[in-house]
């Protein structure tokens, strides 16, 4: 649906270099990168606020590179939400409809509908500056979604929120997506957002989109060291949860909390215990594993293990390696505590 081709742009200290990627209809695409990578500039170029120095942008195969923002049929939610401070919440949400000269009764119907879905019906008569961060974010999303845009552009939507509000909004975002079925391009520096929400993810470093692909693929197989170093979180497992048990590729993993449905979990490599014999401990998850690779990282050794088709990375000390006589191809047991699992 959205296709970006070889876009270059220099603006102030920010830059974009040969950015190419596609977002498919109905997809939630996340661009993940550290601050200063040029993520906001990329959104602004797609939104039509800036014209790229070179390259093309297509929407449903129509070239929109030089189209003004109001003709692109997309909605942009900047990081500070940019609610219109002189309008009440109702008028903020209605703004796009009014500009389109929608009949008044229809405006009212649509605003009420979207406010209902986003749980902000009680806020419609408030001024933006009386809203909390989470409420303001909902209003910004409502103002964008009420127009049923082809594409929603989100710039660090959860960055200024506290941990609880953020977690709640991420869960709700999944629900809104199911209900309203929009296409989104979301830029963030947060792995949590990427893993929780993203269908596909692109890693952006220094103005370049280094790697794009499915979340598990990108986290599991970083294209180069730069990406790997940026991502850090090396074990991401996807599966179907039933209460405290996650089924992933035929193996069963015990979770620290009860969840239901498709989830992803993360385990840091340093939290995985290796033993030659099965052990009986408080670590609830234990798997027979085959050592695929051994990498020397200096004071630490990184093992790549295969457990029932899932790849796991684990850190052990050099003395463990020697004492346990671990070699490539050897079979060992890998275990980790349920409490060490991070559920996204």
């Amino acid at each position: 649906m959205l296709r970006v081709e070889n876009v270059n742009k220099d603006w102030k200290e920010f830059k974009l270099r040969e950015i190419s990627f596609e977002v498919n209809k109905g997809e939630y695409f996340i661009i993940l990168g550290p601050s200063g990578a040029g993520k906001t500039l990329l959104l602004e170029v797609i939104a039509g606020i800036f014209i790229p120095d070179s390259g093309r942008i297509f929407m449903n195969d129509e070239d929109i590179t030089f189209l003004p923002p109001e003709k692109r049929d997309l909605a942009y939610i900047p990081q500070n939400y940019a609610l219109f401070p002189h309008m009440r919440v109702y008028d903020n949400i209605a703004y796009g409809l009014k500009v389109r000269k929608t009949p008044k009764s229809e405006v009212e119907k649509k605003v009420k509908e979207i406010a209902e879905i986003l749980g902000i019906s009680h806020l419609l008569h408030r001024k933006p500056k009386t809203l909390s961060g989470g409420e303001a974010q909902r209003v910004a999303i409502a103002r964008a979604l009420v127009l049923e845009p082809k594409l929603l552009l989100l710039d660090e939507p959860f960055a200024n929120l506290d941990v609880q509000t953020k977690a709640k909004l991420i869960q709700e975002m999944k629900r809104w997506r199911r209900e309203l079925n929009f296409t989104a391009l979301h830029v963030t520096h947060s792995f949590e957002e990427a893993v929780s929400l993203g269908d596909r993810v692109g890693v952006m470093l220094n103005g370049r989109l280094i790697q794009t692909g499915e979340v598990r693929e990108v986290f599991g197989k970083p294209k180069n060291e730069e990406v790997a170093r940026f991502l850090g979180f090396e074990n991401i497992i996807e599966g179907i949860a039933e209460g405290r048990i996650l089924k992933a590729n035929g193996i069963l993993i015990e979770l620290p909390i009860e969840v239901k449905g498709k989830v992803r979990i993360g385990i840091r490599p340093e939290e995985i215990i290796i033993s030659n014999e099965p052990i009986k401990t408080s670590a609830r998850n234990e798997f027979k594993a085959k050592v695929l690779a051994i990498e020397d990282l200096g004071s630490l050794i990184r093992l790549t293990l295969d457990i029932g088709g899932i790849e796991l990375k684990a850190f052990i000390t050099r003395s463990s390696l020697i004492e346990m006589a671990i070699k490539e191809g050897k079979e060992v047991y890998a275990s980790f505590k349920a409490t060490a699992i991070h559920v996204f």
């Binding site: 039509g48 923002p69 109001e70 692109r72 909605a75 940019a82 796009g96 389109r100 552009l153």
Partner: protein, 248 residues
Amino acid sequence: MKRDYVTAFFALIGTFLVLYILLPLVVIISKQLLDWEMLMKTLHDELVLDSLKNSLLTSTATMIISLFFGVPLGYVLARKDFRGKSFVQAVVDVPIVIPHSVVGIMLLVTFSNRILDSYLGIIMAMLFVSAPFTINAARDGFLAVDEKLEHVARTLGASKLKAFFTVSLPLALPSIFSGAIMTWARAISEVGAILIVAYYPKTAQVLVMEYFNNYGLRASRPISVILVLLSLTIFIVLRWLVGRSRNA
């Protein structure tokens, strides 16, 4: 801190200037209140009423003209970077430093007798010295409006002009409004340039001078008090508006 002698000393010195400004205001108003009869008489003087009408008319016209030209200029100065921008900004600030009589001479030299002794001349003199207030206030007002708001309005379907009128202008309005009132006050306070360009039609601020020259201090005082009260009212409204928009 209790023992802050330095600040107390500074405050003592500084009080002089505050009193120096406050005292003449208090004196002239209170003296006139004791001379109520003269004030009433002045308020029925045709000449005074005509001149007040002229002052209000010309300064209001000046304000409207500077709004019409100054707001777009302020917007461009706030939003665009272009070569020569700092030169333009400097030109806008020049009128503050030019002696008022010289302003009159400059206008006459440039536009010749066509503007002599006419409403046009008064307005042109006023516009030259007072337009910078509107321009700078509009610029500051637009600078304080987050550009992202305009961007969002546009992605929501508004054209550039629509975004300007529905988002940027309403938000900059308090600042523009207070700039316009400053322009109005500066326009009605101008004397030197008007004396040269247009002694007639008579404005109140020029009439003060004429009464003083022809009939002395007592005759010029009541009309002065009327002008002071007018200016102060405007000024208090301005302060109130600025304060309100800051808290809004």
